[in-house]
Symmetry: D2
Subunit: 334 residues, 4 copies
């Protein structure tokens, strides 16, 4: 796992020579997962911090999860388990698609989503459209594991609002991937989770047989009601076939969700997924294979029931948010 | 969910009348999941604390997870999600068994395991054998949700070491359930996870077609190597058929594991499990049904691979432990 | 010290029988002293919590400081060191006064200030005027150490706003004591620290030779600029003689300040203070004697310099606040 | 204050450009002051960490106290208030001495003690004897405020055990200063606080009229019994005149103590101390002047009483330790 994120220079490595023991437990990163719940990692060091016009960013070196990218005080990606998130986000849709050539990423500035897409030998062009140039530059500089992806000639990096970019284009994509920040109130992304956005902006840009997939927030036995069930239900209004799935990501202290949607059916067995994986994907997946996808796309009774009964549809006037700004909707549950 | 644990009296409820806001985030329960990882819950109150000859116990009222039972500084059970653990521990083995009448619980003093077993209408006798009478009394008094189970005439409560008890008996059980504390170094339970214990003590006490199931510690993508893969591999040395499965439990901040083992094959479809659930189990499961079991018993590629390659077998001389040494050790120093 | 606060019943004591070790460090009280500074006490138990129309209150049993009264998320008083605060608040002014008979306490609902005053054998009447009846009742019930004071026939307990009460009275007092909550923005007390209040309300109610003393917030080498220097400078505008003094109170994690003011000079030696202490005060002081007062009323060079140069005067339009509500003024200092 | 510690290069400053808001409260330094008491500072960054053969060291950039030197998990010195400690340690003894020319520092590798001594124009030679060359090098590199002191030709830096060094020398010193780490069990220093060390090693090396002064651990109303009262009582066995004094140091969350000892009497008024300060010390003290010394050397009733009644004398067989055993011990376990 050590090769996932590697720091890009001797200064950094030089500085952290064998952090001593007594010191180990003195410095901590602390995240409020919810108002009443904290998750704390011992720190080796604070590698970099900065503020962009859009977001605050930090790269930390944590003891339990390796290097960790934190945006606006929320953990985005940790060295030792980001592969779970990114394999789940990327591979199911690309494998279900018969021949994905052109892929559009909304967000994804970290580079890991592009990295996973570029492992597919069918892919000819990846459009990565992130609004925050500084985050992209920050990640390009510090996340060595994604260096190759950033240099791949098939990658077309666009600095723009994903909505504006998709509106301005006539072309179609085989797969569109939503790798956006969570719909935090006041954050830049919540309008990219609405029914009208999916219907009027995303769907028209999908080619015949095209697939849309989005990260869909926490999907735990309780937390799935925050946004996951709504995103699922919203996509169900727009696409014929919708597949929700989820996986536990240790550094998030929760099960995470994704939703995949299309007007073409998703019908491959685990074996067929494994075969396509072998034919199309360079290198080995660490988390996902056919059986794993069977498991992660079979939700537990409680979550299935809750998704079946979800009636809320995201519109610009009725957005729901995950915990972030004063925990708007959590309060109601208490 | 409010009915899972209910406090047993007005004094307690009276005392917590509407905890005020400023105060809310001032009091915290903090658990070191690992040396470098902390998990913290805001507290409403500390309901009860005590020490038995074997263990330290506390019942806390936490904001994110409701009432929580803590033994030796480790969360055992939280009101809002203990049903995941106990449904997973109990129902698969009892459903796979054609007609479970006599069930033996090693440990289980909390009473929740017995509660779930007693929902099965085939069950005639439940033997619950816990070494710590005071924990049993504590739970009987405070965990109102298990009150009925403690009073069920089919329950035979035994205060004894589970090993000694099993050795002293000639009779056979349809299902034996290991609901023991984690194998913490210095804790009372690690000898009940060894090959010789399974071979010489447990297996001889299983009736024809009998099934053994045990909780098997953390089973996350990284944490499964602590004890889960070993328990699995150890049981594989002793039984013909072994089924590992796992589920994310929010209050544990991890995916948890169980292993089910038998010399008879486990061969039921999801639909058959659902049918038996309907026929045999009173009330509704909240977490587990046939599809859920399909999902939780299909481990991810990474964990499957790791279990396949595990070579360690638990013997008394080669036990592995989960994190917790420091605290066990602390007791002696204080 | 164990006799300072004693819980009033067996239920409480019964419940906390020998809190176990492993558990000891799991539950914590955490206070944000400033936005970037936290102070955390291990908890034995949460004895009582409640909300009044004015304030949130809690009584905690902490490991390092014994029972602790917390109002609006800020520690007010801890069993093992409240004597420092209350001896410093009460005894200097009563000793400097030639013959204090009638004493008025603004606030003081905890009862400890009255307790210390009632130790003076010259005192004939203590008027304790607190706005929050429920806090008074709470303290009367739970702070056994103050039980006797609450029953003393010389105590006249008034539930009212201290300003309104003083305005409505014609009589004069030998000593008026400000034992009010800190001037937190949005809190009930900041108007009772202004020049006009001192000039128009307090001073007219002092008898000939009368003394006013008030708690005056943090007085540490940095923290004294929050409110201490202002309160000092404000009182200097109103009274001829003003004596600031300060003492370190461990449970506050800071040095605390008081300011004593009069139009009569303060001129007693340490020996004379000791003599009056002997003649007038029943029982032994634990913290304060003549030498101690010499020490605590001699501020360090840095603080003296800062007080000499303070120009700010509290008026209703120019109040300064200590950290509390979003740390208004701390932000400006960063 | 900003000029006390300045980082030595653009890399460091460059890296911390305006740490963003959300990030501010995510990273914390946490110290266990006692087993049941924690003190936590928000972090800007972890500037440097390292391990020497003797100790673990770290330089942190903290929000509330600026840059902070941490040794073996205990805060040694913080940018914004180290002047209190070092002015108190150095100036009283040098001012009381009629003409201090030769000063020997036991420990003091940080350089701040030498810096304060070198401000005295009577001083011809400062011997700074620290056992840990790497800590000295670390501080010389990173604590810019002490750069000048490290380059002063009057400074003679010796890397050696202070005891061995003093034993090996025949010469005498006007002032010997103990700036050693606290007597933590297992730490390198506890033997340098014993009666035999003071009697057989220190005293013989003092010139006629010479003064010994040592930092003496926490001296708060409760914490003074840990080591302060013992160090005082031990020195009383060896010297005719012994002066204990103490001052609150915010970053330590406690009042700190020093003890000054000599066979010549200490008899100067506050005014005489101010005069000598003016005559001999370059630059302005920030904390200490004559009045301040009067205050800090007049202990409170409780502490005076406790010191008067202390009977314990430090010998190698009867050392007392301040809190910290747990962490020293931890090193061996990791």
């Amino acid at each position: 796992m050590g090769d996932i994120f590697v720091s890009n220079g001797n200064e950094v490595n030089g500085k952290i020579h064998s952090p001593p023991n007594g010191y180990r437990k003195s410095c901590w990163y602390e995240e409020e997962i919810e108002e009443n719940l904290r998750w704390c990692f011992a720190l080796n060091s604070i590698l970099h911090t900065g503020a962009t016009p859009y977001q605050d960013i930090a790269l930390l070196d944590t003891k339990p999860f390796g290097k960790a990218l934190v945006i606006d005080g929320k953990l985005q990606s940790a060295e030792i388990d980001e592969f779970i998130y990114h394999e789940c986000l990327v591979h199911p849709s690309l494998l279900y698609h018969p021949n994905p050539k052109r892929v559009f990423i909304m967000g994804g500035g970290e580079g890991s989503t592009a990295r996973e897409i570029l492992r597919h030998n069918t892919v000819e062009k990846v459009f990565m459209c992130d609004i925050d140039e500084e985050v992209v530059e920050f990640c390009r500089s510090y996340l060595v594991v994604n260096k190759e992806a950033f240099c791949d000639p098939r990658l077309d990096l666009i600095i723009n609002d994903a909505r504006a970019e998709l509106e301005s284009r006539d072309e179609h994509f085989d797969v569109i991937i939503g790798d956006l920040a969570d719909p935090i109130e006041g954050g830049p992304c919540y309008k990219l989770y609405t029914k009208s956005f999916y219907e009027c902006i995303v769907k028209p840009r999908l080619a015949q047989g095209g697939i849309f997939v989005t990260q869909a927030g926490p999907a735990g036995i309780f937390s799935h009601t925050e946004v996951f069930s709504c995103i699922y239900n919203t996509l169900k209004q727009v696409f014929k076939y919708v597949v929700p799935y989820s996986a536990h990501i240790p550094s998030y202290a929760d099960t995470w969700g994704w939703v995949m949607a299309s007007d073409s059916p998703f019908s491959l067995t685990a074996e067929e997924l494994d075969l396509r994986t072998k034919q199309r994907i360079q290198g080995e997946n660490r988390y996902l294979d056919g059986k794993t996808f069977t498991s992660v796309s079979t939700l537990s009774k409680a979550v299935r029931h809750s998704l079946d009964n979800e009636t809320h549809v995201y519109t610009e006037g009725t957005a729901r948010f995950i915990y972030g700004y004063g925990s708007a909707n959590k309060h109601d549950q208490d």
